[in-house]
Structures are given as structure tokens and as C-alpha cells.
């Protein structure tokens, strides 16, 4: 506190006073600087070209050996599987897959898992994953690499990716005949989208010992040591137009940049058009490498990362420190090259072979290249050191303003005293300023308590059971719990009256709290931290201690109200619904959006319970209390009361 009580820093000093006067402008400057920095990152001058750091990978060192016979096998397996699919409309043909794996000569096992839907009691979903392990002859099963293909049943709402399984099996058949494997190869076919993969990974790493009552994964009958990397295949057809590489994982985690580069190198070697957020051929030509295209790329990446929901099965591996990504091979829609049909299928197989050979060469875990980056283009990236400053710039005005506020708050009493006495030497005998620390801290704690309740009540089994017994639907019960909390939060400033100077102190506390929260969030998940900073930071500029009335205060109140997590979700979904169903009337739209936002909240909750996505937790436990505090500030009730008191006096 020596620094804070340094007399040279009080607003008596010219510098401090000037700064305090212009704190709004300083905040605005930093806000604009942060955004400008981000936009600048899309310029090629600010991004780096990608390169491979791990020499052991040496992509393309070996010539591809996989040939037409493997592609033919894939084709015949594809036809067989299509026949199987006519009999299994809603399930996976486990027996067929297991039989094929066994025939190839893999050590085949089946893994069962059960999901007990946490809300409506009694509902159970059963699933089965089939996997085959090719035991590497060179090693005693200490390390392994996973090659996974999700299977989607016929009645799935998602894109048909049936061809992944034949491609996987054809590659397994090729790999079985080679003796150079130094890591066990696990060929895994999962079902029920990410749930199957999650269950398999949980079973692999927790062994059913730490099973939650919701997802019962049990144990695996066989393992392949420490998994080093994973490749997920989503192949729409054997005739491929291009490959889209998907990397975003759970909670915004990314695979090592080397893994991404490896895939890029090998796909370009086998003359496949591929890339990150790749587009079909027609669109590809129109804009390439322009500034706004780069910016769009970056923003799209941030958008997916911010939700924390993986955009493929690969995203679940990252938590276990297994580098993984998805190759989404998109079906060709134009019939331009009919005589060389399936030629691209062979290229895909060659790519997979190349990736597997490189991963096989790996002596150490991926550790060399970047884990934190934003891709600007397929071959350009921004590293953490370059993108972090924009978040810092967005968050720093909060600290600066908090400090300046501290100075003015301590000085207002100073000035009144010195004006009365007009003798500067009396300063030393002044009583220390009494700030209502306890009541402000209590207020903050009560706000955090509401956040805590938001976070525990929907997770508690008893509450869930109670609502189910009452016959309330899941979405309604979650909505009800959260709605009550939000209402309490909105009304909290009315119940709780802060004493004199309480609002100023609260303002300082909130600014520091906000700044710290944003930076911590940004460290864990940059995208989420950045987006939150962009929408919350303007409040730092708007909120003002000198209570300007009229337009500005109303604007602040409106903006704070819009920042309420539930309001944001509702507005976002309303916006999306408007695009999805433009024919509906406004009232219908509103109702539909309400239902959809309740669904969205429930899904967020589900993600957090089943997969461990912490978006819900962060919003409910940190940002909701923060909102309550900001709301209190924007209402500025304490001042009204003090003004009234003054008048009566």
C-alpha cells in the first residue's frame, strides 16, 4: 500500500488529476487499441508462416506404398456396409465391423457404455464401440496411436459419413501386413457422435473406477499403452472434393501445431485440396488471402473455440494430452472428373498412410511446436505472444480506472477537509478515510453466492429428482431455477443499500474483479476471454462515477441489462431464429426463441455434466455475479439515497 498512499500520486499532483478526469477517454483508447491490434493480426506482416518443429515427424520421407488394391477393398467394404445399413436403420452393425476387424487380423474388442440421462430419471441410452488393436511388433505395447471413425446410423440427422469405416478398415488391412510399426495402432469405430468417443476415452483413462453415475463407461478389455496421437476420419464418400481439417477441441483446446502442419504437408503431397475451414472449389477461387478473408477465418475459429464445444470427435482427446484432429473429407458434388472417380479416395488413403508413418516415427510426445495459436490461413498462424496483447489492452483500462478511482475516492474527503481548514499543514492530523469495506465485500459475496447457487442447484441430484417427480420437463426446471436466480440478482441492489462511498468502493472492486476474470478466462480459453472482453469492456467506458444523468445513464442501464447472460442468449437465439424462420410472426418467433434458448441452456448444462465443458460453470459462477455487480453500479441507487438524505438534512 506504500505505492497507493504515496503523496506524490494523489490527485493533488497535476498528473493524477488530469488522468482521473480523462479516465473515460483512456479506456476508450485502450478499447480501440485492443480491437485494432486484433484486426492487424490478420495482416500477413503480423502472422508467421507455419513450419514443422519436430524433426522426427519428417513428413513424406517414405514413399506411399498403399495402392489400388486397398482402395478396391475399401470400395467393396463400402458396398457391403451399404447393404448392412439397410438392415440396421438406427443401430450400428457392430457384428459386421467386429467380424471385419477380426478377419483383418486385429485384436478385436467391444466396449459397452451406458448413459443415464441426468434429468428425466430412468432414461438410459446404451452404446457400443468396436475397436481393434494392431499390436506393433517392435515394442511392448507401451505406446499407441488411435485411428477413429465415427459411425452414424441411417436415421441420423447429421451428414452421412458411412465411408469412414471402409477407409479405416482398408487402412487397417494395409497396416496389418507391415512390420515397421513402433506404436500399437488402435482402430476405433464409435457411435452416438461424441458420446461414444467420450465414453471410450473415459474408460481408457479412468478404467471405470471413477465412473460418474451419469455416464457409465466401465473398463476396456485391452489397452495399447500411452496414447500419443489420434486421427479422426469423417469421410462422406470415396469420391472426395476436398478435405477440411477440424482442430477445435473441448474448452477451446487445440492440437499441437505440428500435427496440423503434418496433415497439411501430407495432403498437399498427395495432391488433395485441403485446409482449415476449407471451402468448395467454386468459392475457393473468389477470395484468397485477402485481409477480410483472414479476419473472417480468425473470427470463425474464435467463435467455435469460445463455445468450448468440440467440432468433432478429435476434440475430446485434448484433455488427455493426446494430439488429435479430424479429417473431414467432403464429397464431390460437381461431376467434372468422372473418368478418375475414386482417384481422390486413393489420395486420402495415401495421406492417412503418410500421417501414420510420421506418427510412428515420433520418439517423444508432441511438445515442440505451439499449443496456443490462431490460424489465419492454412499456412499462417498467430502465436500466443502476438494475440495476447489485444486481450491485455481490452482488460487493462479496468485496472487503470480502478486505480484512478481509488485516488479520487480517497481525495474527495481530502479536499473537503483542506478547503475547510485552508491550512495545508493540518493534513497530517486528518483522520484516515473510512471506506465501507465490510458492507461492500458482503455485497460482493452475496452476488457470488447467487452464482454459486446457479452452479450447484441444477447439478444436484435431489433438485433434479424433485422436479422430475413434479412432472416438470427438464428445460422448464432448469429455466425455472435459473430464472429465479436471475430475478434475485436483478432485485438484489434494491434490497441491499450500500452506505456512503460504498458505490465508489464497489466500482473499484468490480473493475478489478472484471479485469482479473477476463484475463484468467483468456488464459484458459482465449477466444472466450476475448469475446467477453469485447462486449463487457464498453461498460468500463460508460460507467462513470460522476453521475451524469439523462441519456448516458439510461444508455448504461440499457447496455448492462442487455449484458445479462440470459438476455444475451435469448437475443442471440432470436437473431438466429429470425434467419432460420423468416416467415413466422414476431410473437411466434419470440416463443420459439424462448424455447430454443431454454434448450440451449440445458445443452450447456448437459455438456458441463457429461463432457466437462466449463462454459456453463464460468458463466453461472463468475459472469452472472459480475453482472449483478455491474447492474448495481448502473442503477446507482446509493447516490439517490444519499442525495435524499442530504436534502432532508
Amino acid at each position: 500500500m506504500g505505492l497507493l498512499s504515496d503523496p506524490s500520486l494523489t490527485p493533488r499532483g497535476k498528473f493524477g488529476r488530469t488522468l482521473a478526469k480523462h479516465s473515460g477517454k483512456i479506456s476508450l483508447f485502450f478499447y480501440i487499441a485492443g480491437l485494432a491490434w486484433f484486426v492487424c493480426l490478420s495482416h500477413p506482416e503480423f502472422s508467421h508462416g507455419t513450419y514443422l518443429s519436430e524433426n522426427a515427424l519428417s513428413p513424406g520421407l517414405v514413399d506411399p506404398e498403399i495402392g489400388q488394391d486397398s482402395l478396391r477393398l475399401a470400395q467393396s467394404l463400402y458396398e457391403e456396409l451399404q447393404r448392412e445399413r439397410t438392415e440396421h436403420k438406427s443401430t450400428t452393425p457392430h457384428a459386421w465391423i467386429a467380424a471385419k476387424m477380426h478377419q483383418i487380423g486385429l485384436e478385436t474388442h467391444v466396449h459397452n457404455f451406458t448413459l443415464r440421462y441426468p434429468f428425466s430419471a430412468g432414461k438410459e441410452y446404451h452404446g457400443k464401440n468396436v475397436y481393434g488393436i494392431l499390436r506393433a511388433p517392435r515394442v511392448s505395447s507401451t505406446e499407441g496411436v488411435v485411428y477413429a471413425a465415427p459411425y452414424r446410423a441411417v436415421n441420423s440427422v447429421h451428414v452421412d459419413i458411412t465411408a469412414s469405416v471402409p477407409i479405416l478398415l482398408a487402412f487397417a488391412d494395409f497396416a496389418r501386413k507391415k512390420n515397421y510399426w513402433a506404436k500399437d495402432l488402435v482402430f476405433l469405430v464409435t457411435e452416438q457422435e461424441q458420446l461414444g468417443m467420450h465414453a471410450w476415452l473415459e474408460a481408457y483413462h479412468e478404467g471405470g473406477i471413477r465412473d460418474s453415475p451419469i455416464l457409465r463407461c466401465g473398463n476396456l478389455p485391452a489397452r495399447a499403452g500411452a496414447l500419443q496421437a489420434a486421427l479422426n476420419l469423417e469421410v462422406q464418400d470415396l469420391d472426395i472434393d476436398y478435405i477440411d481439417v477440424k482442430i477445435e477441441g473441448l474448452n477451446g483446446q487445440l492440437p499441437n501445431l505440428d500435427m496440423f502442419n503434418l496433415v497439411q504437408r501430407l495432403t498437399s503431397r498427395s495432391s488433395l485440396s485441403s485446409g482449415y475451414k476449407h471451402s468448395p472449389r467454386k468459392k475457393r477461387r473468389s477470395h484468397r488471402g485477402s485481409l477480410e478473408d483472414n479476419l473472417r477465418h480468425m473470427l470463425e475459429m474464435l467463435k467455435i473455440q469460445a463455445t468450448g464445444v468440440p467440432n468433432g470427435n478429435h476434440g475430446l482427446f485434448h484433455r488427455y494430452r493426446i494430439e488429435s484432429l479430424t479429417l473431414e473429407a467432403v464429397k464431390r458434388t460437381t461431376n467434372t472428373n468422372n473418368n478418375n472417380r475414386y482417384g481422390s479416395g486413393l489420395s486420402l488413403l495415401k495421406t492417412i498412410e503418410g500421417i501414420s508413418r510420421s506418427l510412428n516415427n515420433l520418439l517423444e510426445r508432441f511438445h515442440q511446436s505451439y499449443f496456443f495459436y490462431i490460424l489465419v490461413q492454412n499456412d499462417r498462424f498467430v502465436s500466443i505472444g502476438d494475440y495476447m496483447p489485444c486481450l491485455i489492452a481490452l482488460a487493462s483500462p479496468m485496472f487503470i480506472k480502478a486505480f484512478l478511482l481509488w485516488l479520487t475516492t480517497t481525495a474527495t474527503t481530502d479536499e473537503t477537509v483542506s478547503e475547510d481548514d485552508s491550512v495545508p499543514s493540518h493534513d497530517e492530523e486528518k483522520p484516515p478515510i473510512q471506506l465501507p469495506y465490510i458492507s461492500v465485500v458482503l455485497f460482493m459475496v452475496s452476488a457470488l453466492l447467487l452464482g454459486f447457487l446457479c452452479n450447484t442447484l441444477p447439478f444436484s441430484q435431489h433438485v433434479r429428482d424433485y422436479f422430475t417427480s413434479m412432472g416438470v420437463s427438464t428445460e422448464m426446471s432448469v429455466g425455472l431455477i435459473l430464472g429465479v436466480q436471475v430475478l434475485l440478482g436483478t432485485l438484489l441492489p434494491l434490497f441491499y443499500t450500500l452506505p456512503e462511498h460504498g458505490l465508489e468502493l464497489l466500482h473499484i472492486g468490480v473493475l478489478i474483479f472484471m479485469g482479473v476474470t477476463l484475463i484468467v478466462t483468456g488464459l484458459l480459453n482465449f477466444a472466450l476471454g476475448f469475446i467477453l472482453a469485447v462486449i463487457i469492456s464498453p461498460l468500463t467506458i460508460l460507467l462513470n462515477n460522476e453521475h451524469s444523468k439523462g441519456f448516458r445513464q439510461n444508455l448504461t442501464r440499457l447496455y448492462t441489462f442487455l449484458l445479462n447472460p440470459i438476455v444475451i442468449i435469448y437475443l442471440l437465439i432470436l437473431w438466429l431464429t429470425l434467419f432460420e424462420f423468416p416467415e413466422l410472426s414476431f410473437a411466434e418467433l419470440g416463443m420459439r426463441a424462448l424455447k430454443a434458448s431454454l434448450d440451449a441452456i440445458t445443452f450447456g448444462l448437459m455438456d458441463s455434466i457429461i463432457y466437462g465443458n466449463w462454459l456453463y460453470t464460468a458463466i453461472a459462477a463468475i459472469y452472472f455475479p459480475l453482472w449483478i455487480l455491474l447492474w448495481t453500479l448502473s442503477l446507482g441507487r446509493q447516490n439517490l439515497i444519499t442525495q435524499l438524505e442530504k436534502k432532508t438534512n
Binding site: G105, E107, R135, P137, R138, V139, S140, S141, T142, E143, R176, K177, K178, N179, H205, E206, G207, I209, A222, R223, G225, A226, R319, Y320, R321, L363, E364, R365, H367
Partner: protein
């Protein structure tokens, strides 16, 4: 204990055949080939030398036994020694049980016995012995020391006999190096220990190009002494084994195989020094036709199961032609999937948990037998894996039923000390019939000192296999040689009341938290730059000195000037700063008219 009584019986059996036979030495070479139910081919070479050397002094005159082996007996009090160098993992569920079991990597165990032998002596001898064999086999056995050796109490039983009536103290030491990679450099010295040249006889089949292309290969060495009385009338048994598993699918050609295909060449005769040279072929799997047919067949009944072996006596062969045996898939046999029952006991081990804070090591032992089996379980955890035995749990999962927890009957645990000794755990318990026991305990991930990381720190650290020993009541899948015998052929018809079985689990890889090793490099770069930039000014400030120099004290004459210049240069070259400064100080105090100048040393 029951086990101990049995051991005493065995020792009695061992000593009995010695009798008063004169000094002799004999050499046997054997090859056993068995196609497994999974389609793999197991080939097992055993070269046995048995030398009745009598007294200790005779050890100086070796014949068939390699001299270094005999000399170890003279130097150390070692009575029994097992070394295994293994690449790959023996998969019990598909391969059955091996004749000699071995853990991945290098594995050494030795028994020491002598009068007045102390544990400290044994520790010393143990490291020296390991270093000796490190040289003999070109393996990294010299890394065996107190930090990775344990003293198992229950897991191993001695197979040597001192014959002494006095109670001689016995010590056992055991260590594994799971990281060790077995290669040609180990195979060549291993072959050189054989009495015949490696170009002749069975050893000629062991070509490194083929041996190292297998799914599993294990070089073994076993030495033991059997004495009638203390250090007199002794027999030294020295056995070298090579155990390999081939995958015919990788050899090409639809599942047929032959000696030539497995080893790269046919057999070029037998060792002239060998008393017997025989190839045994397992004929239980009827799906192959053999060419040429075995010279004779023999049936072995052991522990309730019957096996048929075809025998080729190589010494009875004549001619210079390379001898080859071919296994051809019989045409009349339909390619059916043989449902061979899994072996009665097998085990797996894995690490659970994620993150870099806490983990769990789990060993899963499965009993497929219809009786409960007594188990001795041994863990040897390196010192850098702090394990918590209060979290030790034995959970029984019956194949149908609810799981429950059991307590070990005996627990022998020596906690590890960081950088001093490993964690050693031995458990005795009974595994119920048709069930799986899960042994689990927690451990912490720790940071090591930065020099303790291997060069490839991010590869992970190895944890050696756990060892499970038991007494099997049946002999199905069991091919080990009985303790009182020494040849593979002795395992035929060797029915005993129980069969001592040793199995090993996988070795594990553990990714310890690794510092960013480029960070010290960056720090060094930065520090060097800072030092380099700072050095110049600091050095000049520290060493420059303000001195007052005489300006007009120069001699007037030409001679004087020249002399002074020469004198100065000399002084400068000598670089003796203190003298110079002293002189200047004299000047300073001596002269009234002075001028300030800065002078560099």
C-alpha cells in the same frame, strides 16, 4: 509355508543325481517349434552346458563352459543367475505360456550364498556382477545399482543347491531395465558364449536380420550350481535360450512357413561337441503338413494334458545339404477358427488418470481356472514414482457377480526413498476361481532435477513389469522345464503335483511433468547477451583509473627522449599494471606540475 517345504524337496531331488560321478561336461542343443492358435509361430532355442567340475579349484580349467562364466563363480559368491534381454511383449492370451518367461527390456536376478556373507557385501557384489555381464553381453546392465534393485522375499525360489548342512545365508537381488533395447550387439556376444562357432549348428539359424524382425524375441542366460556338499563335488549348469515369436503373415505367403523362411537359411548340421542336437515340433495343431516328416513322434502327458511332438535328430542326418522343415497348411483342413481355451492365468497392467498431478497404477490378474489360485504379486516401482500404499486396493470382479474387496494374506512392502531405493511391494493372496483381481494404488507425478531427465525427456519414463508367480494345478499350456531337470526334453511327461508359473505384465510408460528444456537455453542466451553488453563498460569502469601524468617532465635531450619511449613501450608490453600504477603514483606525488589523463592497463 507349503512353498518352502516344496523347495526343500526339490533341492533334495536336485542333489540326488550327482552321486559320485567323475568330472564330466556335456553340451546339448535343442530347438522347439510351436505354431500357436493365433497363427503365430514360437521358436525356442536352448543350449545347455552341464559341467561337473567338482571342486572350486577346477573352475580355472574350463572346456565347454565359457571362461568368463566360470570366473564369475570364482570372483563372486553367486550361485544362480538369470539374465533376460527381451524385445516385445509375450502375449499370454494368444501365445500360451513360454518355456522361459522374461520381462520387456533387460532383467537380471541372482542368488548369492556363502558363509559369513552380509547384505552389504551382496550389494557390492551385485553391482559388480551386473557390470561384468554388461561387458559380456554389451547391454546396459551397468546401470543396475541400489536405486533400482530389490530383494524379493516371496516371488522367487532358488534353484541351486549348496548342499551345505550348515545354514548358509542366502540373498537374492532382482532388477529390471525396461528401457533397454535389445539388438544385434547383444545377440553377437551371446552367440560367442556357445562352444561351437555361430556359423555352425543351431546357432547359425540366429541371424540378426531375421531375429530382430520378429514380434517378440528374448535372449536368456541362466547359470546355477548344484553342490553335494559345501563347494565340493559341484555341477555348473549354463543354459542359453532364445525365444522368438514370428508372425507368418508378415513373412508373406499365406500362412505357410519353413525353417528357411523363419531364419533366412536352412540348418547346416550340428555342433560336433554336442551330445544331442534335436528339433522338437509341436504337432497338437493339426492344420499343418510337415515336410520332411519327423523321424519319430513322442507323446507327453503332463498335468492332465497330452501333447504330441515330432522329433528330428540332427546328428542322425547325413549329407552336406542344408536341412529344412516346411509347415504347409493342409488342404483337407478347412480354415476354421480354432477356439483354444485361454491360459488359466494372465495379467495386464495400465496407468489410469489424466493430468500431471495424480495417477493410479492398476494390475489386472485374471484367473480362468475353476479353482482358486495362490498368487505372489511383486511390484518394483522406481523411486521417481511416489506411491501411496494406503490407497492399495484389491478388488475381485467375478465373471458373473458383484465385485468385492479382499485383503492380501501377506504384504511385504519396503517404501522407496527418492534417489536411493525403489518402492518394493509383494503381496500374497488367493485369486478366486473364474474371476479377475484388480490391484490398484495411487501415485504422484513429480518433477525431477533437470539433469535426471533422459535426453528424450518427453518420451516418458519406464516402469518395469510386475511379476506374478503361482502354483498351477494343471499343466495345460505349460512348457517350462522342471526345476530338477535341465533339458527341454525333460519337460516331457514331467508330471508334478503343481507347476510353478511366473508371468509378467506389460512395462509402462509414464510421462512425468517435463520442464521446457529450451528455457535454460533461452536464459543462457539472454544472460550471455546481457553479460556481454555489460562486460565492456563495467570492465572499463572497474579497471580504468584516473592518474595524473607528467606532461613536461620529458628529458630535453634526444637521447633521453628515445630512451624514455623505449622504456614506456616495454612497460606497456609487460602489462604489469600494479607496477605501472605505483610508478605513476610516485610521479604524481613527486611532481608539482601535473596533468590528469586516463590510462588503460
Amino acid at each position: 509355508m507349503e512353498l518352502k517345504i516344496k523347495i526343500i524337496c526339490f533341492i533334495a531331488l536336485l542333489v540326488s543325481p550327482i552321486g559320485a560321478v567323475k568330472e564330466f561336461s556335456e553340451f546339448h542343443e535343442e530347438l522347439y517349434i510351436r505354431p500357436t492358435s493365433s497363427g503365430h509361430v514360437n521358436t525356442f532355442f536352448q543350449f545347455t552346458t552341464r559341467w561337473h567340475y567338482g571342486d572350486r579349484e577346477n573352475l580355472h580349467n574350463t572346456q565347454l563352459i565359457p571362461r568368463p562364466i566360470a570366473e564369475t563363480l570364482l570372483l563372486y559368491d553367486v550361485k544362480e543367475l538369470h539374465i533376460g534381454l527381451t524385445q516385445g511383449l509375450w502375449r499370454y492370451e494368444t501365445f500360451g505360456y513360454p518355456v522361459v518367461d522374461s520381462a520387456p527390456g533387460a532383467e537380471v536376478r541372482a542368488w548369492f550364498a556363502a558363509e559369513n556373507l552380509t547384505s552389504a557385501d551382496v550389494d557390492d557384489q551385485w553391482t559388480k556382477l551386473a557390470s561384468t555381464f554388461s561387458g559380456i553381453l554389451c547391454a546396459s546392465l551397468n546401470f543396475i545399482d541400489k536405486t533400482n534393485s530389490v530383494e524379493p522375499k516371496y516371488s522367487f525360489r532358488p534353484t541351486f543347491a549348496t548342499g551345505s548342512k550348515v545354514n548358509v545365508p542366502q540373498f537374492v537381488r532382482y532388477a529390471t531395465l525396461p528401457r533397454e533395447i535389445v539388438c544385434t550387439e547383444n545377440l553377437t556376444p551371446w552367440k560367442k558364449l556357445l562352444p561351437c562357432n555361430s556359423k555352425q549348428s543351431f546357432a547359425s539359424l540366429l541371424n540378426s536380420g531375421y531375429v530382430h524382425n520378429t514380434n517378440y524375441h528374448s535372449l536368456g542366460m541362466k547359470m546355477r550350481t548344484i553342490c553335494e556338499s559345501h563347494n565340493t563335488n559341484c555341477i555348473l549348469e549354463f543354459t542359453e535360450t532364445a525365444n522368438m515369436v514370428y508372425d507368418p503373415k508378415l513373412l508373406g505367403a499365406n500362412g505357410d512357413f519353413s525353417l528357411r523362411r523363419l531364419f533366412g537359411q536352412g540348418l547346416n548340421g550340428h555342433c560336433a561337441l554336442a551330445k544331442s542336437s534335436k528339433i522338437y515340433v509341436n504337432l497338437d495343431d493339426q492344420s499343418y503338413d510337415l515336410t520332411p516328416l519327423p523321424m519319430y513322434n513322442t507323446t507327453s502327458k503332463r498335468g492332465g494334458s497330452t501333447s504330441t511332438f515330432g522329433v528330428y535328430d540332427i546328428q542322425r542326418l547325413d549329407g552336406d545339404k542344408l536341412f529344412n522343415i516346411a509347415w504347409i497348411k493342409s488342404k483337407n483342413n478347412k480354415p476354421s477358427i480354432l477356439l483354444t481355451p485361454p491360459p488359466p492365468l494372465y495379467a495386464h497392467r495400465y496407468i489410469l488418470g489424466h493430468g500431471q498431478e495424480r495417477g493410479q497404477i492398476v494390475t489386472q490378474i485374471t484367473n480362468k481356472h475353476y479353482h482358486a489360485l495362490p498368487i505372489v504379486f511383486q511390484e518394483n516401482i522406481p523411486w521417481f514414482v511416489p506411491s501411496y500404499m494406503h490407497t492399495l486396493k484389491l478388488i475381485v470382479q467375478p465373471s458373473n457377480g458383484v465385485e468385492y474387496q479382499i485383503q492380501p494374506r501377506v504384504m511385504h512392502y519396503i517404501p522407496g526413498v527418492q534417489r536411493v531405493r525403489p518402492y518394493h511391494l509383494e503381496l500374497l493372496f488367493e485369486i478366486p476361481a473364474m474371476s479377475t483381481v484388480q490391484i490398484s494404488f495411487d501415485f504422484d507425478y513429480i518433477f525431477l532435477k533437470w539433469l535426471e531427465y533422459p535426453p528424450d525427456a518427453n518420451h516418458g519414463h519406464y516402469l518395469g513389469s510386475a511379476i506374478i508367480t503361482t502354483q498351477l494345478p494343471i499343466g495345460r499350456n505349460y512348457t517350462a522345464i522342471p526345476i530338477d531337470k535341465h533339458l527341454f526334453v525333460d519337460s516331457f511327461n514331467a508330471t508334478r503335483s503343481s507347476y510353478f508359473l511366473e508371468i509378467r505384465t506389460e512395462s509402462l510408460i509414464l510421462s512425468l511433468p517435463t520442464p521446457d528444456f529450451s528455457m535454460p537455453y533461452n536464459v543462457i542466451c539472454l544472460a550471455c547477451t546481457v553479460v556481454a553488453l555489460a562486460f565492456g563498460p563495467i570492465h572499463s569502469v572497474a579497471t580504468k583509473r584516473i592518474v595524473i601524468e607528467q606532461k613536461d617532465g620529458q628529458p630535453q635531450s634526444l637521447k633521453g627522449k628515445v630512451l624514455q619511449k623505449l622504456f614506456r613501450r616495454k612497460q606497456n608490453n609487460a602489462g604489469n599494471s600494479t607496477k605501472e600504477v605505483e610508478q605513476h603514483e610516485k610521479l604524481l606525488f613527486g611532481q608539482a606540475a601535473a596533468d590528469i589523463s586516463i590510462r588503460k592497463n
